[in-house]
Structure formats: C-alpha cells, structure tokens
C-alpha cells in the first residue's frame, strides 16, 4: 500500500467515524426531545428524559408527575406516579433495573421516600407506597395475583433506562396524563449517545484531518494529474 492509499484510508476511516458519531448524536437528540404520541396535554410536559440505572436526578422546582413504568399487559402504555406534594428539592432515584417490578423511588433530598405516592393509569391497578418500593418482589407477586403478566418481563436488566416525565402540572391536571403511548424502541440514553458522538466525532475528525495532511504531503501527486490549460477565449 503506497502513501497515497494509506492517507486515503486514514481519511475515510475518519469520515466514517464522524458519520457514525453524527448518527448517535441525531438519535440522542431525538431521544431527549421526543414527545410524540403523547396523550394528554403535552404543553405541560417540561422534561422528557432517559436515565441510566443508578442516576440521581435533581428535580427542577415545582410539583411533579413522575412516570413510573409501563402497563404490564401493554408495554407501550406508561403509567404515571403522581407526587402531589413533592418538595421542591426532590430527587428522583432510579434504581437498578435488574430487579422485578417498578423501580423508581422518589425521595426527598435526605433520601427518605415520600409516602403520598399514588400510582394510577387506565386500569387503576396499583397503589404504590414506600413499602412497595422497598419490597419489590412482593409488588411483583401482587401483579401476578391480579392476573397481570409479571412486570419483571418488561424490565430488562441493563437495557431499559427508566423513562421519567416531569411535568409542571398539579394533581388535577396530571389526571389527564393517564398514560403515555409512544414507541419505546428508542433505546439510547442521550447522555450515553452524546458521549459516543463526542468520542467518535473527535477521533474521526482527527483521523480525517490527519488523512488530509498526509494526502497533501504525498510527493509528486499533483504533477501526475495536471490541469489542462484552458483554450484562450
């Protein structure tokens, strides 16, 4: 392989990495902003996040409605965990998804779970409390008793970052948010995606730049393809 081919190879690998990085960036951007398929008053939705397991999220000021999970019978329907008297300094803890049942825990800043959490959706099946949140297996058993498929089935270890919607609505307005119907196939976490974009774009850009420099330094290359002189007009 001669120097020119090597330079071209470096350049193309660089541009390829940049293109892949752009794909991650675009999809991450879409994941962070998409509110399509929203059933309810989308104007009240202020944040739509994907989080990683173990993330602790500082909740913005206001009263929140927190998405808690999905309808086990129809995973595209999401339930909301209503938090009517959330303190302004609330944090949302996203626990390890490698567990059964719902795994969101809303606590105040000192880590104490909030007790007045109601969980409702189209079927009004679940009542969440701090007890249930800390005894997830029992919650899962309750689902089974209710004749619903096990919730655990829809929580993939390591796969599904729990999706959380924070709205600025109060308890009444959040009644409108009975469920969210959207496509859960967007699986990339924006922060992870943007990190991938950064690494790929930077390394790709460096390689592409290097390839360009190497191409320019190939000796005698320009002389091999001279531009024919223009005919005088």
């Amino acid at each position: 392989m001669d120097r020119s081919s090597r330079a071209t190879l470096v350049l193309r690998v660089g541009t390829l990495l940049v293109a892949i990085g752009l794909a991650f960036g675009l999809v991450s951007y879409m994941s962070g902003l998409t509110v399509s398929g929203y059933h309810g008053d989308a104007s009240q939705c202020i944040v739509f996040f994907f989080y990683e397991c173990g993330d602790v999220v500082e909740a913005p000021a206001g009263t929140y409605t927190v998405l808690a999970g999905w309808n086990p019978a129809s995973p595209q329907q999401m339930y909301f965990l209503n938090m009517t008297s959330a303190p302004v300094d609330a944090k949302v803890y996203i626990l390890n998804t490698n567990e059964t049942a719902f795994n969101v825990w809303v606590a105040n800043k000192s880590g104490l779970p909030l007790t007045n959490l109601s969980f409702y959706g189209p079927q009004e099946l679940v009542w969440f409390s701090d007890y249930m949140a800390s005894h997830r297996q029992e919650v899962a058993n309750q689902y089974s008793v209710s004749g619903i498929n096990t919730v655990a089935r829809h929580f993939v270890p390591d796969v599904e970052p729990l999706m959380i919607v924070l709205t600025n609505g109060n308890a009444q307005s959040s009644l409108n948010f009975t469920y969210y119907e959207t496509n859960l196939s967007v699986t990339i976490n924006p922060s992870l995606g943007f990190r991938a974009t950064g690494y790929l774009a930077v390394s790709g850009g460096v390689l592409a730049g290097l390839g360009l420099v190497l191409k320019r330094r190939v000796p005698g290359k320009r002389d091999l393809s001279p531009t024919p002189p223009r005919a005088p007009s």
């Binding site: 392989m1 293109a19 794909a23 675009l26 999809v27 270890p157 796969v159 496509n183 859960l184 699986t187």
Partner: protein, 271 residues
C-alpha cells in the same frame, strides 16, 4: 529464490490494487459515510429490546419479519455495488481492463465481492453489535448466541438477493436489468412471502408455510418464539432445531448460488 518470490508478491499487490479500485468505485465519498449514518440511525431508532429473553435478542437483530430498515439499506448497497457497479463494468467494457491484471478471473471476482458485499456486511455487523453492546452490555453478553442467530437470519434475504443479482449480472452483462431483478426479488420477499404465509395458514397448506419458512427463516423463528403476526389455524410451529435447520438451508442455498455465479465467471473465457 528471489525470482520465485517476485511473482507472488506481484500478484498480491495486483490483488490489493484491484481491490482498492473496487473499493474506490463502490464506496466513493460520501456513499459509505451516508450508509453508515443510515445504518446506525436505523439500528438506534428502530431496533428495540422489549424484554431480556432470547426472543427479544432475536427481534432486535432480525426485526419482526427480517425486512427491517437495515436490511433495506444493505440490499440497496448490494444492488448499487453489484448490479449497477459490476453490471456497468460489463456494459462499458471496464471489465476488460480489470481482466488485464495478472490475476485469475476468480480472484477478480473475489476482489469485487469483498468490496461489494463484505464491506456493507461489515458495516451492518458493526452497527448491529456495537449498538447493543453500548446500550445493553449485560443483555448482549447474556444473549450473545441469540443475537448471532438473529443476525444470521437478518442476512438471509440480502444474501439471497446478492446471489440472484450476481447470476443476473453474469447473464445480462449489464446493470439495469439485474438491478430491476434484484429490486423485484426484494419486494417479492417483502410482500409475497407474507401473502403466501397467509394463504398457507388460512387455507391449511402446511407445506406452503414450510416453504415460506425456508425462504424467509425469520418467520420460522418468529413462529417458534411466538412473537410475530403469525396467526392462523393449524399453524405449524417449528422446533428450535427445525428453525435453525431452515436458516442453515437458506444460507447454504445463497452461498451455493454465489458459488455457481463465481464458477460461471471463472470458467468463462470472454469478458
């Protein structure tokens, strides 16, 4: 000793040179980059993991019918490279130039297939596996076998199309007709197999259903996993071994057709 080694080195460099020409022709800037962008976006947007079991891993790779966006992009790339590229080489007489290289015809074809088939396949492999290992490393490790199975199943349609297009190029020695044949074959696979499957189920023709399972093994696996729109009375449900057997048979058919194409090209004396 040195005189014996020289021709070998010359042949290797001739192969590399020809391969680099084919790579340049098939993947000009920004075709490869645009394809990579589309493939990665397609995987990120449309491939999902709904639960952590083997069927989910299979669905992530192969989609509900194996005819996903990534499969479409792969088929378009194959049609562009093999039908338009290789076919136009015959049509425009560029093939004569390639055959002047000190290489056997088989090696010329091998270089072309590496450029036209293996590079897009490599890109698809990178997209499918890197995304799942990035977003769900634990799941990817636990279900690696099922992911591989799904990936091989995803390849069945594009490989079959590639084999058909290669034969069509060798027959027509042009780009247009093989491109049309490949496109029709793809949409036949897309629509016709689903139609046949429906007839097979609703009309009670189990052999027809098995034939569709053979043509598109995704249906066989979907039926096995019970997660697709495969409905009907007297539905034949293959066992795991049968589904794997159908997949293997389909891949062998595609590879055999590619081998026939390669033999036809290698044995022919005129370009």
């Amino acid at each position: 000793m040195s005189t014996q080694g020289a021709p070998k080195k010359g042949k290797n460099s001739a192969f590399t040179e020809l391969l680099s020409i084919f790579l340049y022709l098939d993947h000009r800037l920004p075709v490869l980059e645009a394809s990579a962008f589309l493939l990665f976006s397609g995987v990120l947007l449309f491939s999902s993991v709904s639960n952590g079991d083997a069927s989910s891993a299979f669905s992530y790779m192969a989609g509900p019918s194996g005819l996903s966006l990534t499969s479409l992009i792969l088929v378009v790339l194959i049609l562009k490279n093999l039908a338009s590229g290789w076919g136009n080489d015959f049509e425009k007489g560029t093939m004569q130039t390639f055959l002047t290289y000190p290489l056997s015809r088989g090696k010329v074809l091998l270089a072309r297939l590496i450029s036209s088939l293996l590079v897009p396949l490599g890109l698809l492999t990178l997209a499918q596996f890197s995304v799942v290992f990035l977003i769900a490393p634990g799941f990817a490790e636990a279900q690696f076998g099922s992911l591989m199975l799904g990936f091989l199943t995803l390849l069945t349609t594009p490989l079959l199309i590639a084999a058909v297009v290669l034969l069509a190029v060798l027959w027509a020695k042009s780009g247009g007709v093989p491109f049309a044949i490949g496109l029709v074959a793809y949409f036949m696979m897309l629509i016709f197999t689903a139609f046949l499957l429906s007839i097979g189920y609703n009309g009670g023709y189990p052999n027809l259903v098995w034939a569709v399972f053979f043509l598109n093994p995704v249906y066989a696996f979907s039926s096995y996993f019970g997660n697709s729109g495969v409905y009907g009375y007297n539905t034949p449900v293959p066992t795991y071994a049968q589904a794997v057997g159908l997949l293997a048979a389909n891949l062998i058919l595609s590879l055999a057709l590619l081998a026939v194409g390669a033999l036809l090209f290698a044995k022919r004396t005129e370009a």
